[in-house]
Symmetry: C2
Subunit: 341 residues, 2 copies
């Protein structure tokens, strides 16, 4: 298919719509789900966009497939490389498998067995490295140089962002079908691929909606960058259960988009995230990973601000180990706790 | 709204379509979900109908709302009574709340706190009884006599079955939209309300599809009744984790329908159900209760029989306590285990 590039270096609605066409029939059009109990409890109308139900268990498949499907034939033949311990790895591996491309994924040797197995299960070649002794980027570049293949970046890339933006396109379409007049969208943010993609689509389709982000306490680089008007880094060192979104700094392309379209954000603690994840278990029957539940945790924290409004909360992924998940459930409060909190 | 009864005592497509209209905008149109990994693992094309995402966490809301919305005005004023420790209680309570009717739910005093709280949360009045010392039916009848109200039966009722049948209507519609040519439908069965509703809708819309049921070992009354051609009871006494579907005998209306349209069934063990539930956690990111996962457990058990086919598996509910769920996950195998099993 032709690449609607026209040489511009930004994400456009046209690019996102092109991504949606590429993904049609391959990505899950995740539904907008609603819980009457949660609406009542919080005094607002809430819809959830559960990307945990997406192919590979997170939104990452959308961007990875979009990127890989736009590569030139000679690039396809030489394959792709990515480094990731989690959702991006699975997204790239699954996309490469569907397109018949070779993928090498550089993963830490101590990554959860299930994530390594899943990534290999999609047909990717795994290169393990020692997290504390080796530089994954250097390893990936070495593989890429040897094979003449490209590295698929996790977020700061026009094609990746366009693919993730299809989440925003679907929100606008589905909310319209439901006569749901979106006031606000809350979304977890790591490097900003998903958030900037959604923000671009919403700016074109539902420009009145406010876009908000949620980050783990200690990794609030996007919130602080938005406040400063320039990219600043988080003082990394804090621990967080939100492994999917503990990026130290926004991307340069993603930050330019977020600066234009994102109203602000909220930092959430591990305890708030665990409570959110447990309420999603109790009320929505969805398995959401900690990072994927950060947007809902932010909504709960800020429920007074959003009272009376029509809000879409993006649940960005569900790749969490059974044992870890059971631990979060065991320690978390319920809807009563979070309402009283 | 007029009741399209015409005096007949059977479930018709017309009645199911009327139920779908009543439920429009109130019940969730649950999506059909797919996992590429599960398709590959089992060598078939599998779609899941996740009624765990339904209002109140199970399909029961569909039938309860349909039933209550068809009551005459004088009946509405006198309210309704139901006895149930689980999903039916929540379905009736939520439906009554939406219709502004009073509901009394007779529940065992040792029912899980969350189920009692949820039922009360929907606005119902709870009457607790001692499971081993009192007869819940007698208590319900006493309440009904006192108030002149009707008892809402859990499954053996034309209106209830019509409401549950909207699941089948949606399967036919959604599968058609996806160009998915349904060969088989697998569905958990207790008293048969859901199964006979789905079977009626499918017989009208996709008559070539085979309908199969899944029951817990020790509660295989439907399977044995179908084989015998008459209603027989399970030899109750066995324990089962599938609390939602441990009924001792099919209903009389539901059995007549099942006899016409259901090809047969499969009994599944607790261990098979727990494995199924864990694979649904791992791969689909859905919280499914044990009884709700019985259809998938049967599919896994019978995967050789269904190889190469296009199968819809109904996941009927997701109301499970956190602690119990964590326990199932901890003891269960994964996809590798169930494939090798």
């Amino acid at each position: 298919m032709p690449n609607p590039d026209h040489g511009e270096r930004t994400v456009t609605l046209e690019r996102i719509e092109d991504a949606a066409e590429r993904l049609n029939g391959l990505a899950v059009q995740t539904p907008l789900l609603e819980s009457a109990q949660l609406n009542d409890a919080f005094g607002m109308r809430l819809l959830f966009k559960p990307e945990c139900l997406q192919r590979t268990g997170s939104f990452k498949f959308r961007g990875a497939y979009t990127k890989l499907s736009r590569l030139a034939p000679d690039q396809c033949e030489r394959g792709v490389v990515a480094y990731s311990s989690g959702n991006h790895a699975q997204g790239v591996a699954a996309a490469a498998g569907l397109l018949g491309m070779h993928a090498t994924i550089v993963m830490p040797s101590d990554a959860p067995r299930i994530k390594i197995d899943n990534t290999r299960g999609y047909g990717a070649e795994i290169v393990l490295y020692e997290r504390h002794a080796e530089d994954r980027r250097a390893i990936a570049e070495e593989v890429a140089d040897r094979n003449g293949s490209i590295i698929v970046p996790p977020f700061d890339d026009i094609d990746i962002i366009s693919g993730q933006g299809t989440v925003g396109l679907e929100i606008a379409q589905q909310a319209g079908d439901m006569n749901f007049d979106v006031d606000d969208v809350l979304c977890p943010v790591g490097g900003g691929g998903l958030l900037s993609g959604i923000a671009t689509a919403m700016a074109a389709k539902l420009p009145k909606a406010n876009i908000w982000c949620a980050e783990p306490v200690g990794y609030d680089d996007v919130i602080r960058s938005l406040a400063a008007g320039r990219r600043v880094s988080a003082e990394v060192g804090a621990a967080s259960i939100c492994d999917a979104i503990v990026t130290p700094q926004p991307g340069s392309i993603t930050f330019e988009i977020m600066k234009r379209h994102v109203s602000g954000g909220f930092a959430v603690s591990d305890a708030e995230v665990a409570d959110a994840l447990a309420v999603l278990f109790d009320r929505l029957k969805l398995v959401v990973e900690p990072g994927g539940a950060a947007g809902f945790a932010a909504l709960v924290q800020q429920r007074a601000r959003f009272a009376g409004r029509s809000v879409v909360v993006v649940l960005s992924g569900g790749n969490v180990d059974r044992q870890a998940y059971a631990g979060y459930l065991a320690r978390a409060g319920g809807l009563d706790t979070v309402q009283a909190g």
